[in-house]
């Protein structure tokens, strides 16, 4: 089963969220992962997944990664002996929500409606259309490192922004 993502933005209502098309992770992530590992200052980039979807031989999903996010004052544990708090991690777009037909938490809750989320590989999706229509207003940070970030910024000053995050 491939992860699916909801392709509407908050405020777009009516029918139940559409199920998007499967994301081709194998191809996209391999290159990105290689670049991320090269770019990571700690040389410790690891995949976040549990081997179900993405590639073979990746580490099993850690217990803390499956726990619902409401623990209060509880000491986190990690098999390597170090707590995950203050460790470098990457946003996974709330994959646990996305897999269940929800939007990432930050997208859902933003009162300024600042973000969109969706399946870029689906040309019908809002996000694919937005990026197409605003090609000259799009930037990503640190493109030169080849990590293929999945966060795109729409800005009236893409050249300036890019120059500050080359």
């Amino acid at each position: 089963m491939r992860p699916r993502s909801q392709c509407c933005r908050p405020g777009e209502l009516g029918e139940a969220p559409r199920r998007g098309r499967a994301v081709n992770y194998e191809r996209a992530t391999k290159e990105a992962f290689e670049a991320a590992r090269a770019a990571c200052p700690y040389k410790r980039a690891v995949y976040f997944d549990d081997g179900r979807f993405y590639t073979d031989g990746t580490p099993a999903r850690q217990a803390y990664e499956t726990r619902p996010s409401f623990e209060y004052g509880k000491e986190w544990t990690r098999t390597a002996g170090k707590p995950p708090v203050n460790a470098l991690r990457k946003c996974h777009f709330c994959v646990h929500r996305v897999e269940n037909g929800e939007l990432p938490a930050c997208v859902t809750t933003c009162v300024g409606e600042a973000t969109y989320f969706g399946d870029l590989s689906d040309p019908q999706s809002l996000i694919a259309q937005l990026l197409k229509e605003n090609r000259d207003k799009v930037m990503r940070v640190y493109e030169s490192k080849g990590t293929q970030p999945r966060v795109y910024y729409l800005t009236d000053t893409p050249v300036l922004c890019k120059s500050q995050h080359p």
């Binding site: 405020g11 209502l13 217990a63 409401f70 209060y72 859902t108 009162v111």
Partner: protein, 1054 residues
């Protein structure tokens, strides 16, 4: 802090005190569950998107009362989201008809405070057992006692603390006969109606003779209008909403017979409400009456231009979640631009077309300047203003009308009453007068048949009577100064004044002025608000899409046709409370037997109610009378009020207030002075009917309901098990006292009131019924009913019993009640908020540009009549004297602000929020810093003329210095400093306390910087004490506001 010789608990042993949640059986039993989860190797399903793990309720992390979607995991509140049915959380909200089975994966928005609410609910410092003080007031030494023992002591009194006799409620409940009470109440009204002092005196003597056998029931037989001794029970509250408010009033006013049930309105927006009340007074049977306690806000979803004055909807202002989306969409699409008038560059200002850094306190000057320019350039809506009555408004398709063209008599050089047609001999009926092309015409303001328009600017004499029109009076006030003179007062350049006024009058009805505390919490707050709302009247935007809207709710108390439970008829033993209240509200000083001279000993508030800053200080002064017992519910006047420190001395003295009982979830800055603390349920464990706010145009009634099992202990009252809560406390005391309206037959013959559910479920049924027959919600179908039951499978019978619930509401309403509770309340669909060019739920009647009732009110502190029209008043103390602390070297002007991550007193326990902003700062302009030799990060103490030491004196040996960290920014007006509310605590888990002999350590993350903690500063104790009242902050004697923003301070480097 004194060193404790008692055994001290380490962080590990902390958990062992069972009085607080941190040591309760609940938390101890749940500590093991995370490892169970680790043990599961298969990928855990994300349970939180299953409909049966979701319940809807209402957030209470601030007063915006956004909808809440609570995701439950094994009975614990795991994740909070917004409710998609609610227009607060999703715009447009989904259709109310949508099944909850279909929306499990659709979440609404929720601000950071809302998200962090889990930490309020599971705060280890939450009180779960009844506490009685074991030391002196405020010493913070407590013992746990049984609920029954606490109730017994409170009702029976006695030498409860080894300090002498404490009166119990049974003593205070002196007048118990409803018939006698009604007779006395009527006779007191008759005393008030007497005109001369001699007549009044005679009436008092007659009263004493008539009731000779009952004089011992009165507070003071020589002043029968103080009322019965029952009035010496005072119930005050902080954050209270519907449902619980009816319960508290039932207990205090209807059953116990005390007039003293008072809220906190004047510490919030006070004068904003009461200026709007004055503008909404209607003329019925010869007098001005029916003014609503409410206000208006801009319809941000449709406005083209808004001026926010002292309001920041991206940070507060009821609130970001519901207002920011409409504002943002407007900015993005180009529909909207807005200006922000605020000494501070708020988040809202950061998106504004113009930021106007006005001098605090001079807001009316800017409004009057704009009014002047608009009138001079004839940019007002003449058609709207010329409508004198309803028929004329309707003919112009206007939903409201005003008294701009009505003639006002000028008596002794000042505008006084409206001219009556009788005085010109035009008619014998009670009519007002306008001029039409110079000819006087009589009219009835509510006439629907004969449209009457009037000349706008009238200044003349008719039959020897000097008259001016309402608009003429406004013009004269606005033109009493030139634009340059107004500009010099408020320090807004003339060019900006004109641009604001031009823009405001360039969008038809789709422009609005939206004001909040920055305008109302000044000594001139009432007139500030009046001036800004008069601007809205100049373009007549009330009830128009994009203009001004008011809140609209579904009634829960059953007064409408078709509703099943009319609470007005559900208290058969109801008595008549009477007499002057402890805050002297809604009564004229001159009418009472206490009238002597001006100034009165303390202010009287004929135009206001819920004057929070008066309750404890009046009790301290024993004026109008001393009190015997004070109940405080979810309120912290010590922390919340400006100069709240003045309350401490009074609370700490059992001679001033012999009995203090608090209903609270924690031991806070005020409840630490209580004699008894009854733990309450958090907002996720209980009921309320949360009401609405003016910027929400749909008709709504969000309903707070239990979504997790109660975390307080269970007690038995009237033979029923229920959790410790406000309800248990009130019902328990009612049971012990034998109070009518509670217990068997409490609602009437065969209708018991022995459990809180019987109160609240009836109200839910009323909401389900709606406004009128035909307005009921549909029945929940079988699938919804099944979901309803399954989603509540974790709730104990003490708070959820479907059989009991069904019995209470009856078969006819049961499935409708389920329907409503399945959605977290009742919400009209988005499009039902509007009707073509108009707002659907209209105010729809007369708005007073000139206020006759106000003009006939006398200022109890000066003996002078109030102005009935907007004026500019400079800063003054309660007797009208200027305050010039700047001449004593207090060179900075102190204001406060709101951050979206903190509410006034109750978010300090939310570590997720503290992670974003661990401490507040003293925000200062670099120019001031340079002048004072300060740098970023310096620690300074704030001092003022009324607090030269710069400390909170807790009256228990501890003083909390008001020390904070300086943060420099160009985003504040030079000369002004500000701090964010919600930080710098010294209770609420911030400092040590002793329960049952064991010391509980406080958490320095919550503690004031001045006490060595990391949580910044709370500088309300620096706010100016009124020099005449001496134990109260500055007040707005017209509207009642507690003054936050008129203090001059100094900062001293430490």
């Amino acid at each position: 802090m004194k060193e404790s010789t008692a055994p001290c608990l380490t962080r590990r042993r902390f958990l062992k005190t069972t009085a607080l949640l941190g040591g309760s059986a609940f938390l101890l039993s749940r500590l093991g569950w995370p490892s169970e989860l680790f043990a599961r190797t298969r990928l855990a399903e994300y349970e939180l998107t299953k409909p049966e793990n979701i319940l809807y309720t209402v957030c209470q992390q601030c007063n915006t009362q956004c909808g809440l979607k609570v995701k439950l995991y094994d009975g614990l509140a795991a994740k909070l989201e917004g409710n998609p049915y609610s227009p607060w959380n999703l715009q447009p909200n989904i259709s109310y008809r949508t099944s909850p089975l279909d929306v499990a994966t659709l979440d609404g928005r929720l601000c950071p405070k809302g998200q962090a609410g889990i930490q309020t609910v599971y705060d280890p410092y939450r009180v779960v057992k009844v506490l009685k003080r074991a030391g002196k007031r405020g010493e913070n030494k407590w013992v746990t006692i049984s609920f029954d023992q606490a109730v017994d002591e409170i009702v029976n009194g006695g030498d409860l603390f080894g300090e002498g006799h404490v009166p119990g409620l049974k003593e205070i409940w002196a007048l118990r006969d409803p018939k006698l009470a009604k007779e006395m109440a009527d006779d007191v009204k008759a005393i008030w109606a007497k005109k001369t002092p001699e007549e009044k005196k005679a009436a008092v003597e007659a009263f004493k003779t008539k009731y000779a056998e009952h004089l011992d029931k009165l507070i003071d037989p020589d002043h029968p209008d103080l009322g019965p001794k029952n009035n010496q029970l005072v119930f005050m509250w902080g954050r209270l909403k519907g449902g619980r408010s009816e319960l508290i009033k039932r207990f205090t006013v209807e059953s116990f017979g005390s007039v003293n049930a008072h809220g906190h309105t004047t510490v919030c927006q006070g004068s904003l409400y009461f200026a709007s009340k004055a503008m909404s007074e209607q003329y019925q049977k010869g007098s001005w009456t029916g003014g609503k306690k409410f206000y208006w806000q801009a319809d941000q979803n449709n406005s083209e231009f808004i001026i926010f004055v002292g309001a920041s909807p991206f940070e507060g202002n009821y609130g970001p979640t519901n207002r920011a989306p409409g504002l943002t969409r407007g900015l993005v699409s180009g529909r909207l631009k807005f200006a922000v008038v605020d000494p501070r560059f708020s988040k809202t200002a950061s998106k504004a077309w113009k930021w106007v850094p006005i001098k605090p306190g001079t807001e009316a000057a800017l409004a009057l300047a704009m009014i002047r320019w608009i009138i001079e350039n004839k940019r007002y809506d003449a058609k709207y203003l010329s409508n004198a009555n309803k028929a004329a408004a309707v003919a112009d398709k206007e939903p409201t009308w005003t008294n701009a063209c009505w003639l006002v008599k000028i008596v002794d050089g000042r505008p006084e009453k409206f001219l009556r047609a009788k005085e010109l001999g035009l008619t014998d009926e009670d009519r007002f007068v306008v001029l039409q092309d110079g000819k006087p015409v009589a009219f009835d303001p509510y006439d629907t048949a004969n449209p009457v328009k009037g000349d706008l600017f009238v200044d003349t004499t008719i039959q020897g009577i000097r008259v001016k029109s309402g608009l003429q009076i406004l013009w004269e006030s606005a033109s009493s100064k030139t634009l340059e003179e107004w500009s010099a007062i408020c320090d807004v350049p003339v060019r900006d004044i004109i641009e604001l006024a031009r823009e405001f009058t360039s969008h038809g009805k789709k422009a609005a002025v939206d004001v909040h505390r920055g305008v109302s919490q000044h000594t001139n707050g009432f007139y500030n608000v009046f001036a800004w709302f008069a601007l809205n009247l100049l373009i007549g935007n009330y009830d128009w899409k994009g203009g001004m809207s008011q809140a609209s709710t579904f009634d829960h108390t059953g007064g409408k046709e078709g509703q099943p439970f009319n609470f007005a008829k559900l208290n058969p033993g109801k008595t008549t409370a009477f007499g002057i209240s402890i805050i002297r509200h809604e009564i004229k000083y001159e009418q009472t037997t206490l009238f002597e001279r001006y100034p009165a000993k303390r202010p009287w508030y004929p135009l206001s109610s819920d004057v929070y800053q008066e309750i404890i200080p009046s009790a301290g002064d024993g004026y109008p009378y001393p009190i015997k017992a004070l109940f405080i519910y979810m309120g912290s006047p010590v922390y919340a009020l400006p100069a709240g420190h003045t309350n401490i001395e009074i609370l700490a003295d059992p001679k001033k207030i012999p009995l203090i009982v608090a209903s609270d979830i924690t031991i806070g800055e005020t409840s630490m002075y209580a004699d008894y603390i009854f733990p309450d349920l958090s907002y996720l464990e209980r009921w309320e009917f949360a009401g609405s706010h003016p910027s929400i145009t749909q008709k709504v009634q969000p309903i707070r309901q239990p979504v997790i099992a109660p975390l307080t202990e269970t007690v038995k009252v009237f033979g029923q098990e229920m959790p410790l809560s406000l309800e248990a406390m009130l019902l328990g005391i009612a049971e012990k006292l034998g109070l009518p309206g509670f217990g068997q037959g409490g609602f009437g013959e065969g209708q018991d009131f022995t459990h809180p559910d019987q109160f609240y479920l009836r109200m839910v049924a009323n909401v389900a019924a709606g406004d009128r027959p035909g307005n009921e919600v549909p029945d929940a179908d079988d699938a919804e009913l099944e979901l309803f039951l399954r989603a509540r499978r974790h709730l104990p019978k003490t708070v959820f019993d479907p059989e009991r619930w069904r019995q209470i509401v009856g078969e006819k309403w049961w499935r409708k009640v389920v329907y409503v509770l399945n959605r977290g309340g009742r919400f009209d669909n988005w499009e039902q908020g509007y009707d073509g060019d108009y707002i659907k739920n209209r105010y729809g009647t007369l708005i007073n540009l000139y206020q006759e009732k106000t003009a006939l009110t006398i200022n109890s502190m000066t003996g002078k009549p109030l102005a009935g029209y907007p004026i500019y008043l400079p800063l003054a103390d309660s007797v009208g004297r200027p305050i010039e602390d700047e001449k004593q070297g207090f060179d900075l002007h102190l204001i406060t602000h709101r951050e979206i991550v903190a509410t006034k007193s109750r978010t300090i326990s939310n570590y997720w929020l503290l992670a974003v902003m661990p401490e507040n700062a003293i925000v200062m302009h670099p120019r001031d810093a340079q002048r004072l030799g300060l740098s970023e990060g310096d620690r300074v103490k704030i001092i003022s003329a009324s607090n030269p030491e710069g400390v909170w004196d807790l009256a228990n040996g501890t003083k909390v210095p008001m020390i904070g960290t300086v943060h420099l920014t160009e985003g504040i007006r030079p000369g002004v400093i500000s701090f964010a509310l919600g930080y710098g605590h010294w209770a609420y888990g911030a400092t040590d306390l002793v329960i049952d002999g064991e010391t509980i350590k406080g958490d320095e993350r919550r503690r004031a910087t001045g006490l060595g903690g990391g949580a910044g500063v709370h500088a309300n104790a620096a706010m100016r004490v009124d020099p005449y009242l001496k134990n109260t902050c500055l007040v707005d004697v017209y509207g009642g506001s507690a003054v936050f923003y008129d203090t001059r301070v100094k900062v001293v480097k430490v």
